[in-house]
């Protein structure tokens, strides 16, 4: 494998770079969403201070690609997600930004009943090459309206691919692949990861959707962790390593399609599985992974499968309660100890 040059970027910069590369390569790639240019049309704000979205991820793109391809929309998710679905069906390759995933309810018809079903209902003659980028996750004291994960809502639906990167490199590589994909992709960016720095390959290096990544190798237990929980799991793994327990941390990266083969292979080696998911537990990705392993990997198991998830509540606003809501390294380590 050829060595690829890397340099350090934040997760937010990696997302931005993937969009920039795609927009340079393909004039059909456009951006639309609330404040993604942000202030670019306001007389008293100069362009280079444009917001670039609520969290600044698309900053600078309007300057390079202009307001014709970077569209600020009204605060009407149903309208601009619907417009994005239509644009995708008619030949563009749009990237829409849903500011917080918690707002999906407003535009669910456009996503679920239109975008997700287009290709199927037109027998493959229509496509929906649309990426909806959205933010997930608790930890910013942003209260219940802005702090959920909710990707399990979308993994439930056929016709939607779901991606949840945990590192800057994965964010860039997976977003490049998502933009090129001919299906509707929901791209879940964790708010608390935007400032995370890491080595990111230069250039157009995409990562295929549907491939998991082993973030830490170990023989004693498999910890499957999603998005930011990968880092909680790695921290737990370090605690456990001090006790002589070597955990393998598997990051699915894509939630739909899910690389169950990699998870099963790891469990076949370690015989034990803990799944960490910040999403609410019922009908969750965590429980789906547990079900797949109980079904296809039953004879590999030496212990019950444990899920460490958020509780079945909205995200609390109270900072101590919010911290208690998020699966912690201590909880993960305790779950591992309980099955060893």
């Amino acid at each position: 494998m050829a060595t690829v040059a890397t340099r350090t970027l934040t997760y937010a910069e990696a997302v931005n770079e993937a969009i920039r590369i795609s927009m340079r390569q393909d004039p059909n790639v456009i951006l639309l969403g609330e404040d993604i240019a942000g202030g670019a049309d306001v007389d008293h704000l100069v362009d280079d201070e444009a917001w670039g979205g609520a969290l600044g991820v698309t900053k600078g793109l309007v300057q390079e690609f202009g307001r014709g391809r970077v569209l600020d929309t009204p605060i009407t998710e149903s309208a601009f997600i619907g417009a994005a679905v239509g644009a995708a069906a008619t030949g563009l390759r749009p990237i829409a930004e849903l500011m917080f995933v918690d707002f999906f309810g407003v535009c669910m018809d456009q996503i679920f009943d239109q975008g997700a079903k287009l290709r199927y209902m037109f027998g493959g003659k229509a496509r929906c090459p649309l990426v909806i980028r959205t933010t997930i996750g608790a930890g910013l004291n942003a209260a219940a309206h802005h702090s959920g994960c909710h990707y399990s809502v979308f993994t439930h639906m056929p016709g939607i691919k779901c991606v949840a990167p945990s590192t800057p490199a994965d964010a860039k590589g997976l977003l490049l692949a998502a933009i090129r994909d001919d299906d509707l992709v929901l791209f879940f960016e964790h708010k608390l990861l935007y400032g995370l720095s890491g080595e990111v390959p230069e250039g157009d290096e995409s990562i295929p959707l549907g491939t998991a990544d082993v973030k830490r190798v170990g023989n004693d237990v498999t910890i499957v962790a999603i998005s930011r929980m990968v880092h909680q799991a790695l921290e737990a793994a370090e605690q456990l390593a001090a006790e002589g327990i070597e955990a393998e941390v598997v990051d699915p990266r894509s939630l739909s399609p899910l690389d169950s083969d990699s998870i099963l292979a790891s469990v076949a080696k370690t015989h034990r599985l803990v799944i960490v998911d910040e999403d609410n537990p019922l009908c969750s990705v965590a429980h789906t992974i547990a079900a797949i392993v109980a079904d296809e990997g039953f004879d590999s198991l030496d212990a019950p499968i444990r899920c460490v998830t958020a509780p079945h509540t909205p995200v609390p606003f109270s900072p101590p309660l919010e911290q208690a809501y998020i699966p912690s390294p201590e909880q993960i380590a305790a779950a591992v100890r309980a099955i060893l």
Binding site: D220, A241, A242, E243, G244, I245, E246, H271, F298, D299, S300, L301, D302, A303, A338, I339, L340
Partner: protein
């Protein structure tokens, strides 16, 4: 990388040895194979040769030290390497540590493992075991009831099953006295896992299970090896010849009963000399039990037998008679050692032992030849047969091997050069090689 000098394992029952002296001092140059130190066990005293050439860098076990089999005795540095004291310490420690679970050679922390306990059971008595443990136990044919648990709540894990299987496989050799009749218990030495194919060894007249000593170990890795002492021999009982059946067929019945007592339903039967005739008899009488037959310098394939042997069996037990017998057996006379002569004589000197052996000889060899010839019945043998012979056998002529090939359909014949009547003793490596090829190449 230095070479560790370890305590040897002489025989299946040896667990420790005492280092009684060193023949070289620390710092002396040493050649591979050069006698290096002296070990005493409850059965023998002998020199142990250096495993490699170099310099005797460290004497770990000073004279008088009792060391477990395979334990560290010394360190030889090789290729002119210079080792600090710390490096030698670390090397010895690494080896010692490798023998103890829960500490790695690198000294890193190892996952704590719960002490094994009896497995839990549910309300219906079903043992608590993980899916992986159940699957592995099925694959290994292991009963979960025999496995202790280290999982939380007394759950058996796949590691527990592997551990139980491995314990089973590397279990120390065991000794049994199997009840055959009201006045007869047969001694059986067994090694290896009872889940592996069984190979049963039967010695010749005046011999014992000890004659298989050198081949049992190598075989036990993949076979359940059982060496039996015939009635009146070794450590088995000596029933009164006035009542007991010392015929070849009677001995064969005792052997098949012993096999049943050990719970084995199908075995490969290996017989040496008179034990070969016993094995043929058992194979003909119980073909469902004896599924393969190995005949080693066997009686029962022709009429000829050394009259010297018959004379010596007749003579009153004495050290000189035992010596003459062993001289007759071995091609390499250097193998006739004082210890072997003494052991042979001691066995015959047991009260009743000589009478029992004469009773067997009377029935098997009518004064000048073999009575127990299965000759006409050899064609009835349907099992795969291997015939092994020492090329220099002076007790039973090697020509009988060819007769066996002609009489028994499909019999394989292996002649071991430069070996006398007991190739399993004179050329154990060649013998084990031939036997293992046969065991691997034919179905059980």
């Amino acid at each position: 990388m230095p070479v560790l000098v370890k305590m040897p394992k002489w025989g299946l029952m040896m667990k420790t040895g005492t280092v009684t002296g060193w023949l070289l001092a620390e710092g002396d140059a040493v050649a591979a194979g050069q006698p290096l130190f002296v070990v005493e066990t409850d059965k023998a005293v002998d020199d142990v040769e250096a495993p490699a050439a170099g310099v005797l860098r460290r004497i770990v076990a000073a004279p008088g030290t009792v060391v477990a089999v395979r334990g560290a005795v010394g360190v030889i540095s090789i290729d002119g390497e210079t080792l600090s004291e710390d490096a030698v310490d670390a090397f010895v420690l690494a080896h010692t540590a490798a023998l103890m679970p829960a500490v790695t050679a690198t000294g890193s922390v190892v996952r704590p493992v719960r002490a094994p306990r009896a497995a839990d059971h549910d309300a219906e008595g079903r043992v608590t075991a993980s899916p992986a443990a159940r699957k592995r136990a099925r694959e290994l044919g292991l009963d979960l009831a025999a496995v202790t648990a280290t999982g939380p709540g007394g759950r058996i894990t796949s590691e527990d099953v592997e551990r139980a299987a491995s314990d089973d496989r590397t279990a120390e050799a065991r000794e049994d006295w199997l009840p055959i009749d009201h006045d007869l218990r047969l001694y059986a030495l067994s090694a290896g896992s009872p889940r592996d194919p069984a190979v049963v060894f039967v010695h010749g007249i005046g011999g014992s299970s000890a004659s298989w000593q050198a081949v049992v170990g190598p075989l036990a890795d993949r076979h359940h090896v059982i060496a039996i002492d015939l009635p009146g021999h070794g450590r088995s009982d000596i029933p009164d010849p006035a009542h007991a059946d010392y015929s070849v067929d009677g001995l064969a019945r005792a052997v098949t009963t012993a096999i049943a007592q050990l719970g084995r339903e199908r075995v490969t039967l290996v017989g040496h000399s008179l034990g070969g005739a016993v094995a043929i008899s058992a194979a003909l009488a119980a073909p469902s039990i004896v599924t393969r037959l190995v005949l080693v310098d066997s009686v029962g394939l022709g009429d000829d037998i050394s009259t010297d042997l018959l004379t010596l069996l007749e003579a009153a037990p004495s050290e000189s008679a035992s010596r003459a017998l062993l001289e007759l057996f071995f091609h390499d006379q250097r193998l006739v050692l004082a210890a072997g002569v003494a052991e042979h004589h001691a066995a015959l000197a047991r009260p009743g032992a000589h009478a029992a052996i004469r009773a067997i000889a009377d029935r098997a060899f009518a004064g000048t030849g073999q009575q127990a010839v299965a000759g006409c019945r050899l064609a009835d043998i349907t099992q795969p047969v291997l015939v092994v012979w020492g090329a220099r056998d002076r007790v039973v002529p090697v020509a009988h091997a060819e007769r066996a090939r002609a009489s028994i359909a499909g019999a394989e014949v292996a002649i071991i050069p430069d070996a006398g009547h007991a190739p399993q003793v004179e050329a154990p490596a060649a013998f084990a090689d031939v036997l293992m090829r046969f065991l691997a190449g034919t179905g059980s």
